[in-house]
Structures are given as C-alpha cells and as structure tokens.
Amino acid sequence: MDSNITNEKLILYIYNETDLLDSVLIQKEIDENPEVECEFENIKASLKLLDSALTRPSMESVNKIMRFAAQSLS
C-alpha cells in the first residue's frame, strides 16, 4: 500500500481509538487514495462479519441470574 497509513492504523480508526489529528489524516487518505479506501472497506467488511457471530444465552440462564439477584436483594 503506497501510503503511510498502515492497516493497524485503519483498525484503530475504525474502533475510534485514534486522536483527532490522526483521524483527520486517516480520513483524508481514505478519501484520496483508492488503495487505502479499498483496504479500509475490506477491514470494515471483515469486522461487520464478526457481528454475525453474536448469540444469546438461554432464557433459563437469565432467569436463574434474576432469581439470584432477587434473593440477594431480599
């Protein structure tokens, strides 16, 4: 990638862990450099995919916790 913006920096940017100055520079590079933009979109797509793995505990588990909570308050 012909840029100073590494994939690690793009990851930090996506997770809002860059400071204001870095954020402005990174966004500028994304807007102006198609290679950086492509990497940025690839990383975003991979991270979005991870959201598909989200799953819930059973209602039984939640109910047991709430019963324990009620006992702890009484």
């Binding site: 690839n42 799953t55 505990p57 059973s58 916790i65």
Partner: protein
C-alpha cells in the same frame, strides 16, 4: 426504563439501591457480547451457559457488597470476570471441547429479527454459525484479541495490558486475524452474504 436513555452506571446504582430491573436492563443490553465472548472461548454451549451464570453471580455479589469501582466501564469489567472464569475452568482441568460440525445452538439464536421469514432465519443462523467457526479456526492469540476487542469492547491499550504484550503486537494480531478470516473464506469458498 428505556435501554437507550439510561447509562450503565445509573442502572448499577439503581440495582444497588434495590431495583432488580436495573440489572435486567444491563443483562439485556450486554448479554450477546458477553455470551458470545464466552462461547467463542469455551466452544461449548452448556459450559458457556454455566460460566455466563457464574459471571453474573459474581457481578451481583460485587455490586451488592459495594466493591464495584469501575464507573463507566461495566462491559469490560464483566468480560474480565468472564475471561478469568474461563481460565479457572481450564485450570481446574476441564478440557476445552473442540467445535464439532454437529454443534447445535439454541432456537433463541435465530429469533433475533422477528420480521424475518423462516428461510431468512435459517440463512442468518447458518452465516452466524460459519462466522463462529471461522473465529474458532484462528490461532489462540489472534482469537483472543478478536474476542476482547470486538465483543468485549476493550481498547487495544487495555488488551495489551491484560495479555502482557505491546499495543502493536495486539494490533498486529487483530490484523492477521482479519487476513486469516478472509483467507479461510476464500479457501473454503464460503458465501457469507445474504
């Protein structure tokens, strides 16, 4: 009480003062991230359910004893407890089971979007299952960073501290995890879009 308007900290205060609904909202708000993190670490639904319950029992006991001091960082705190419980479980000699192709997940998994038809729900559930398996295929250090950053909402700085490596190493692991996931999708010719 509406989830979007009340901060985690206000809910904690309300629970400590005796309002159970504060805890219920916290569970509703964070259960997917917490449970998924545990599930991805232990790879066994029953064990994940047990650890999820034990984690919240510890959360409740800590809140009730007045020892909670993590204002504004409820989710990472709970995830740290869960993570330690997983490690304890592992130390007690209970082997982490391998994921099998026949693994089944609760019906609750596919009921997240009520306006989906059955076919859509099946596709959603299959995608969701495949992504979990992709994460399982990652090397342990990469999987750990993915879980802690993406599901547990920990910053790379906190992850670096917790895992005893530099921020750059954590970031590098995340980067390789994403590269490996993309490689696996290509190799296995997986279709993960609807």
């Amino acid at each position: 009480m509406r989830n979007v308007e009340v901060s985690d900290n206000d809910l904690i205060v309300s629970f400590i003062k005796g309002d159970e609904s504060g805890l219920k909202v916290l569970i509703d708000r964070h259960q997917r991230k917490i449970f998924t993190s545990i599930m991805l670490l232990v790879k066994d639904r029953d064990m994940a359910e047990d650890i999820f319950q034990e984690t919240f029992i510890k959360v409740i006991n800590t809140l009730r004893s007045g020892n909670y001091q993590e204002e504004g960082k409820f989710l990472p705190w709970v995830l740290r407890i869960a993570h330690n419980m997983v490690i304890d479980q592992f130390r007690r000699g209970k082997r982490m089971p391998m994921v099998r192709d026949t693994d089944e997940y609760s019906v609750m998994d596919s009921i997240k979007l009520t306006d989906e038809n059955i076919e859509d729900q099946i596709v959603t559930s299959q995608i969701h299952d495949m992504v979990r398996k992709l994460v399982d295929f990652l090397p342990d250090d990469q999987r750990e960073v993915v879980i802690l950053r993406h599901y547990a909402d920990m910053s790379f700085k906190d992850i670096a501290e917790q895992t005893g490596v530099s921020i750059n190493t954590s970031l590098g692991r995340m980067r390789y995890a994403l590269i490996n996931m993309r490689k696996l999708i290509k190799e296995k010719q997986l279709v993960l879009v609807r």
